[in-house]
């Protein structure tokens, strides 16, 4: 992580070789230029990793959404993007009657869904037909900038497993930057704090080391006031409807890591 990161702005020359074109770049006059404000990532392809920006859905993304509206046969889901998601009744894990849609999934409820299809008109179809997808009824959801999602997961999932290990939570990172933290008797607050830290410092090198130190410090603090830990247990408001499935949370993340 100690390698010097180069910041570019739109219009900066990144390479003379247009064949290495990656995300966040464009070709003009046979050369490669940045189209985004961000950090250059030179591998086989040259990408510009943006420092900010909106989430644009792509097929097979797992995202956390909020139900905005219930129509005749669809739920309209806010997926934190310029485009709303459509979840058809037939994509719900089990068969439900049209007039019972609100009872199963009402306005304002959170769902973990997968993007099934995005057409060129940006009609986004969602699905819940996978055992890792579900209605979110416990834990908490924190939001980060979608451009920071790769950093939060880390190389091969290193960053997210660090947080999971320290907080004992199951964490699901939606590609749209919404993160679901869940788990019985786990330290949700610590996980949320760590995620916040990653969001605000992701562009600064040495993030993993700093996070490791952060966890050590908080752990020392926690050891000092151990008596507090009992109270936090009672504060847990785990509404267990899908309680028996809670353990599966861990599998989800591993699958998300590609």
């Amino acid at each position: 992580m100690s390698e010097k990161q180069r910041i570019v702005i739109p219009g900066d020359l990144v390479s003379r070789d247009p064949a290495r074109r990656g995300d966040g770049t464009y070709v003009r006059d046979g050369s490669l230029y940045a189209s985004l404000y961000g950090l250059v990532n030179e591998r086989e392809k040259i990408r510009v990793v943006p420092l900010s920006g909106k989430y644009v859905p792509t097929r097979r993304d797992v995202v956390v959404g909020f139900v905005k509206e219930v129509t005749f046969s669809n739920w309209i889901v806010d997926i934190g993007s310029p485009y709303e998601g459509l979840l058809h009744v037939s994509e719900y894990p089990r068969r439900i009657e049209l007039d019972e849609m609100s009872a199963h999934l009402g306005i304002g409820e959170a769902v973990l869904v997968e993007v099934k299809e995005v057409d060129p008109m940006m009609k986004v179809e969602l699905t819940m037909r996978d055992r890792r997808l579900r209605v979110i009824r416990s834990g908490r959801i924190v939001e980060i900038s979608p451009s920071k999602v790769p950093r939060l997961i880390g190389h091969g999932g290193s960053m997210i497993s660090l947080i999971k290990g320290a907080s004992d939570c199951s964490i699901v990172v939606g590609q749209n930057g919404r993160v679901w933290i869940n788990g019985k008797g786990c330290d949700e607050g610590l996980a949320a704090e760590a995620i916040d830290k990653i969001e605000s410092e992701s562009h600064i090198p040495g993030l993993t080391d700093r996070l490791g130190r952060f966890f050590e410090e908080t752990k020392n603090d926690a050891d000092l006031n151990e008596s507090d830990s009992n109270e936090s247990d009672s504060e847990e408001e785990v509404v267990v409807e899908s309680g028996e499935e809670a353990g599966k949370g861990n599998n989800i993340i591993d699958e998300l890591l590609e």
């Binding site: 100690s2 990161q5 910041i7 702005i9 739109p10 219009g11 966040g24 464009y26 003009r28 230029y33 189209s35 985004l36 404000y37 961000g38 943006p50 420092l51 900010s52 920006g53 909106k54 644009v56 310029p82 485009y83 709303e84 060129p120 008109m121 940006m122 451009s147 410092e201 562009h203 600064i204 090198p205 040495g206 080391d209």
Partner: protein, 273 residues
């Protein structure tokens, strides 16, 4: 404000600049937390704030385009931005400035990446001192980059004018009010001109020269815009790296030295004032 006796004496303008010199510019990026991208510019006595939202859903719905994003630009002058209180709200002038500014920025934005969405730019002039549309474009272009919107490059804008029969770059209030011509120009970093307006009179020769001067001004402004964007994150990266590399005790000494220097500097300033 009254008309000055002469605008240029011994090749120096009334605010101490040379004819081809721009006013001092400071740019701050990401000043607004609620907007997706933002920028605050002080350009001479101009103070301009730009905010960018989007890409986001289009309201009203009928404005959306099926294949591209639409760009909306609102230029607004605060009622306290000028000497005589300005009646708040849109007027003929601000509608025109909004339109030409939008058209100055649209060519560099990859609108085709975000069909059916809108990119909304808001420019608020807090204090005006001539050339606010160019400052607004400069601010908006930096704010767009800050919002993470894909662009071909930045847009920079600068005005040229004529006072006392001589061409001058980046007019200030007196020169604008009592001068003979004012010509704002915006261009992309590759040199394409995306905005060109003029009021007053220039001969064809003067016009050619004026365009060259404005382009030169735009290039200088581009460098300032670029620096502002780079510096915003570079500072973080460099300050955070140091403690990792240097042993723990040494930086303490360095810090105290820096503090002393800072104290000396401030005391000197007080004396000189």
């Amino acid at each position: 404000m009254t008309k000055p006796e002469s605008f240029i004496t011994n090749g120096i303008r009334i605010d101490g600049r040379k004819p081809e010199e721009i006013r001092p510019i400071t740019i701050e990026v990401g000043v607004l937390d609620r907007a997706d991208g933002s920028c605050y510019i002080e350009h001479g006595l101009n103070k301009v704030l730009a905010a960018v939202y989007g890409p986001r859903e289009v309201h009203p719905r009928h404005m959306q385009k099926p294949t591209t994003a639409i760009v909306r630009f609102r230029y607004n002058m605060a009622s306290f931005s000028v000497e005589e209180r300005k009646r708040p709200g849109p007027d003929r002038r601000s509608v025109e400035v909004s339109k030409v500014s939008r058209e100055a920025l649209e060519p560099v934005i990859f609108t085709e990446y975000f069909p059916k969405s809108s990119i909304d730019v808001f420019v608020e002039v807090l204090q005006a001192d001539a050339g606010t549309r160019t400052v607004g474009i400069n601010a908006a272009s930096v704010a767009l980059a800050d919002a993470g919107i894909p662009m071909r490059g930045l847009v920079s804008a600068c005005a040229v004018g004529k006072v006392d029969g001589e061409l001058v770059l980046d007019l200030m209030k007196e020169e604008d009010n009592y001068g003979e011509a004012d010509m704002p120009l915006a261009m992309t970093q590759t040199g394409e001109i995306t905005l060109l307006q003029m009021d007053g009179n220039l001969t064809p020769e003067e016009f050619e020269k004026a365009i060259e001067m404005a382009q030169e001004g735009c290039k200088r402004i581009y460098e300032i815009q670029r620096n502002a964007l780079i510096e915003r994150y570079k500072r973080d990266i460099e300050t955070e790296e140091e403690p990792l590399e240097t042993p723990e005790e040494e930086p303490v000494e360095v810090e105290t030295v820096v503090e002393n220097e800072a104290e000396e500097e401030t005391s000197e300033e007080v004396e000189s004032e």
